[in-house]
Amino acid sequence: MKKIINDPKTVVAESLRGLAAAHADVLRVEDDPAIVVRVDAPVAGKVAVISGGGSGHEPLHGGFVGQGMLAAAVPGAVFTSPTPDAVEAAVKATTGDAGALLIVKNYTGDVLNFETAGELAAAEGLDVRSVVIDDDVAVKDSTYTAGRRGVGGTVLLEKITGAAAERGDTLDAVEALARKVIGQVRSIGVALTAPTVPHAGEPSFDLADDEIEFGIGIHGEPGIERTAVTTADELVARMVEAVVTDLPFAEGDKVLLFTNSMGGTPLVELYLAHGIAERLLAERGIVVERRLVGPYITSLEMQGMSLTLLKLDDELTELWDAPVNTPALRWGV
C-alpha cells in the first residue's frame, strides 16, 4: 500500500484539518466528535440539511457543505458510518426552529446510527426528520437483502434539497421534495480495480487485469457480478440499459445525467463514457437537460465509474440551477 498518509488512525482528522484550511470562507470543522459545519450556521429560519457517512467518498459529504447545499456533514471513519453522538452534534450546531432533514444512504450502519441520532435529537425537542436514499439499481430490493444501496443519487438529492432549504421551504416541503427525488433517481456503478482502505493495507477485493465488477456500491465491496473487460461502448450501453429500464425512464423524459468517477478513473475516460451515455440516451428519446461530470462520490482510489439519471421537472431543474457555494460544487454565486 502506497498512500500519502501518516497513520491510518489519523487519516480522517488530518484530512478534515486540510479541508478546513482550504475552505475557511465556506465551512468550519469541529473536533471530537468530528463534524463539518457551514460557516454561518445555524442559518435562522432555514431548514438544516445534514448528511454524512463513512469517509473515503470525498468530496461527499464535507465537500458539499455550504450555501445552497448541506448545513453540516458528519464524517465517520473510513467506510464506517459516524456515531449517533456525532450526528447529534451536527444537528445541534445547525438546527434552529425550522428543523433539520437528515439524508441517510441505505447501508445498515448508516441507518442504525442516524436513526438513533434522530431519536436523541427528538428527545431534546428538535424537529428532525430523515430520509433514506436507495438509488442503486444493481441491488434487488427484496425482503432477503438490506435493500438497495444509496449511491450517486445522493449528490443530486443533497443539492436539490439544500437549494429548497436555502429558499426557505418548510421542513414538510423539504422532506416531501427529498422523497420525490428519491423516487425518481437511479444509478449503477462499475469497478475496474479495488480500493485500499488505509487500516486494511490491501485491496478490498481481488480483481484480475481482465475483469470488472459490475453493480458495485461505494465501499469497495464486490459488485453483483464479475465480468470480462469490454469496450467502453459495450460497458456504457449495459449501464444505461440497467438504469433506464429500472424506473423506467421513457421517451420524452427530461433528465439530469451524472457521470461520476469512483476516484481512480481519469477525466479522459469519464468524458469518453459520458459522451457515449449522452448518445445512447438521445437514441432512446430521453432528453438530457442537465449534466454533472467528475469525481463527486468516490471510493478512495478505486478505478471505476457510475451513471445516475434523475427525472427532471421544472421545479427540480430550477433547484438544481440555484446558486451553490461549496468546496466541490459552486455556481451562480
Binding site: T83, D85, T108, G109, T116, T145, V197, A200, P222, I224
Partner: protein, 207 residues
C-alpha cells in the same frame, strides 16, 4: 463463583486484548464480503472501553455493562457500534442493581442482549450475521443455567463458535454482505466471529 463489577471489568479488558489480537483476522473476514472495517472498528471500541475503565470505577456489574454500551455506541460507528452497544445496554438494564451476577441472572442478561440485537438489526437466525452466533450461545447458556457462571459462559462460547462456523455456508440476508447474495457463500460472517471471540474471552476470564 458469581460475577462482580470487578470481574466484569476484568473480562472486558481481556476481551479487548483478544479483539486486538484478532483485529487483522476480522478485517480479512470483512474484506471478503464487506468493506474491511470490522476488525478496526471493534479494536477502536474495545480500546476505548479499556480507557473508560481506567478513568472510572463503576460500582455494579450493570454500571460496567452500561459504560461498555455507551462507549461502543459513541466510538465505533458502522453497524457494529449500535448492535454491540445495544447488546450491552439491554444486558445492563437486566442486571439492575445486583452487586453480584449469578448464573440465572447472567442467562437473563444474555437473552436480553440477543433480543436487543435482533430488535435493532432485524436479523433472524440464518441471515448470516452475529445473531447466528448469539442464538445458539443463549440457548446453550439456558441449558447450563444451573451450572454456574463459568460453565454457562463456556457452553455459550462453544455454541457461538459452532454458530459462527455455520455462517460459512449461508447466503447473507442482512448488512452489506447481503448485496453479494450467493457470492458471499463460503465466508464466515465477521460479526458472528467477533461475537464468538467475545464470549470465549468472557468464558476464559470467568474460569
Amino acid at each position: 463463583m458469581a460475577c462482580t463489577a470487578e470481574t466484569l471489568a476484568a473480562a472486558l479488558r481481556a476481551a479487548a486484548a483478544v479483539i486486538a489480537e484478532h483485529r487483522a483476522e476480522l478485517v480479512d473476514l470483512d474484506r471478503a464480503i464487506g468493506d474491511a472495517d470490522h476488525g478496526e472498528n471493534m479494536d477502536r471500541g474495545f480500546t476505548a472501553i479499556v480507557s473508560a475503565l481506567d478513568s472510572a470505577t463503576p460500582e455494579t456489574p450493570a454500571a460496567v455493562a452500561k459504560l461498555a454500551a455507551t462507549t461502543l455506541i459513541s466510538k465505533v460507528g458502522g453497524a457494529a457500534g449500535p448492535l454491540y452497544g445495544t447488546a450491552f445496554l439491554r444486558a445492563s438494564v437486566k442486571l439492575g442493581d445486583a452487586a453480584e451476577v449469578d448464573g440465572p441472572l447472567l442467562v437473563e442478561a444474555l437473552r436480553a442482549a440477543l433480543e436487543g440485537v435482533q430488535a435493532r438489526g432485524k436479523a433472524v437466525g440464518g441471515d448470516a450475521t452475529m445473531v447466528d452466533a448469539l442464538i445458539p450461545a443463549v440457548s446453550a447458556a439456558e441449558e447450563a443455567v444451573g451450572d454456574g457462571v463459568a460453565a454457562i459462559l463456556a457452553a455459550a462460547a462453544d455454541a457461538a463458535d459452532k454458530g459462527a462456523e455455520s455462517t460459512v455456508d449461508l447466503v447473507p440476508r442482512k448488512g452489506r454482505a447481503s448485496y453479494l447474495g450467493e457470492r458471499a457463500k463460503g465466508h464466515m460472517d465477521p460479526g458472528a466471529r467477533s461475537t464468538a471471540l467475545l464470549l470465549r474471552a468472557f468464558a476464559e476470564a470467568a474460569k
